[in-house]
């Protein structure tokens, strides 16, 4: 299972805790993980990525294993600790507003 950690507002919206676990079939990439997240929690569609363009919303970042993956290819394999379920894939809201 792939572990995904959500920012607080999206936990409220999806009615979940800090982390969700997702079954991802096939190659495990940022795209397939985000697709699985939106399939499991359709209320999150449009809140992480634009619903039409699939572009990351500007005030969000994607981290894993102490690396910023935000500008990496969405189709690149995620780090092994994430695919093995030892580390979470982090969706992080920018610290803004004081």
């Amino acid at each position: 299972m792939i572990r995904v950690e959500l920012p607080a507002n999206l936990r409220t919206l999806a009615g979940v805790g800090r982390e969700v676990q997702l079954q991802v079939d096939g190659p495990i990439t940022q795209r397939t993980v985000l697709d699985a997240l939106e399939a499991e929690y359709p209320m999150l569609r449009g809140t992480v990525r634009d619903a039409r363009t699939k572009k990351r919303r500007p005030m969000l970042r994607f981290y894993a294993c102490e690396e910023d993956l935000s500008d990496e290819s969405l189709d690149a394999p995620l780090p092994e600790p994430v695919t093995a379920g030892r580390e979470p894939y982090l969706i992080v809201g920018a610290i803004a507003g004081g």
Binding site: A8, N9, L10, T12, L13, G46, T47, L60
Partner: protein, 371 residues
């Protein structure tokens, strides 16, 4: 037994307050959508337990929520708002052309007859409609593609369509207001529109009585007289007796004619309420005194209502959608402040009580009078 239900949107969630007709003891439920900006919560007149809420965050965009049990539980519905066609540009603050860009829903106006139909006024200014309970949204593009739209410019809060009035006697007629483009009316169910700003004068635009460019803050109408409209403009309180074809000023003896909120008494169509605000730039009540002003003459002659409201050291604002009236036998008046206070009057404004003192900043107040 009558129940009164308040729907309160704040910067950090929504609250639902209920009371009996005495309106003395209130039960407060919430926050719903904690942490989200709730610009508006509104109820279907056709099915009072059907509520719609506009929630948004700069990080995560727009989410519309729907309730079918009077606000006890909610479910997210459609959050896709796409302008029809290639949207084009409007003016930006620096007078450059700026692409139309959806940011959030400011106002939700459910149909008077169909609980599944609801209109949404959005930023950047446009009117959307859902006919399936908010599941999907279609733009009514005639407004945004009006020939004047490329010259519309935003007010301080953005280029927002914040007011939607549905005429209860004429299903073809919709009236909207946009900051800072002005007021617009459709007489064909939203297909085509025309500006209705004749009589407005705004010194902050090069031609003070131009067809568009007026920062209309809010409009109000009494359902028994849909041709009579009241307007709180950036400056000036205005009145129209011909559904917006022409306007005249009724600011009269107000201490300042700037403000945001305006509403009409439920049973007295000539009784109107405003909350004067100091401007430019201060945007809090004058002299540290929170005063609602009431006119029983449809404008021009105003009296301050102060009983129960703070009369010193008060520096709050009351935003455009943050005042409402109930239709109980003795009309109730309600408003919320940017300081998080929610005030209620059960006697048409003669006296006031703070029914909540420490909410997040209040963005909107709606009220339902339930049999």
């Amino acid at each position: 037994m009558t129940t009164v239900r308040l729907l309160v949107g704040t910067h950090k969630g929504a609250f639902v307050l209920t009371s009996d007709e005495r309106r003395k003891d209130w039960k407060i439920e919430g926050p719903h959508f904690a942490g989200w900006d709730v610009y508006h919560v509104n109820a279907s007149p056709a099915e009072p337990n059907r509520l719609y809420a506009s929630t948004s965050r700069g990080w995560f965009g727009q989410v519309i929520q729907r309730s079918d049990d009077g606000g006890a539980t909610w479910q997210p519905v459609g959050n896709e708002f796409h302008y029809e066609g290639t949207p084009g540009t409007h003016k930006w603050y620096d007078n450059t052309d700026h692409p139309w860009d959806f940011l959030r829903v400011w106002h939700l106006e459910p149909s008077l007859t169909d609980p599944e139909t609801v209109y949404a006024g959005v930023e950047d200014a446009a009117l959307f409609k859902s006919t399936n309970g908010g599941t999907s949204w279609e733009e009514l593009p005639g407004l945004r593609t009006h020939k004047t739209a490329p010259s519309w410019a935003p007010g301080a809060g953005g280029l927002c369509l914040h007011t939607i009035i549905l005429d209860p006697t004429n299903p073809d007629r919709i009236i909207t207001a946009i900051s800072s483009a002005g007021s617009f009316r459709s007489d064909d169910r939203g297909e085509t529109w025309r500006p209705i700003n004749h009589g407005l004068r705004s010194s902050y635009i090069p031609d003070p009585d131009a067809e568009i460019g007026h920062c209309v803050h809010h409009l109000a109408m009494h359902p028994s007289r849909p041709n009579v409209l009241f307007m709180q403009k950036h400056w000036d309180v205005m009145r129209s007796d011909d559904a917006g074809d022409s306007w005249h000023e009724v600011s009269g003896n107000l201490p300042t004619d700037f403000g945001f909120a305006i509403d009409v008494h439920a049973h007295e169509p000539e009784t109107i309420y405003v909350v004067p605000i100091t401007s430019d730039s201060d945007h809090f009540v004058p002299d540290g005194k929170l005063r609602v002003y009431r006119s029983r003459t449809g404008g021009n002659e105003w009296e301050p209502l102060t009983k129960g409201l703070p009369q010193k050291d008060c520096y709050v604002n009351v935003l455009r959608d943050a005042m409402a009236v109930d239709s109980a036998e003795s009309c109730g008046v309600y408003f919320g402040t940017t300081g998080g206070q929610l005030y209620a009057s059960a006697d048409s404004g003669d006296s006031w009580t703070a029914i909540a003192r420490d909410l997040p900043a209040v963005l909107s107040v709606q009220v339902q009078t339930l049999a």
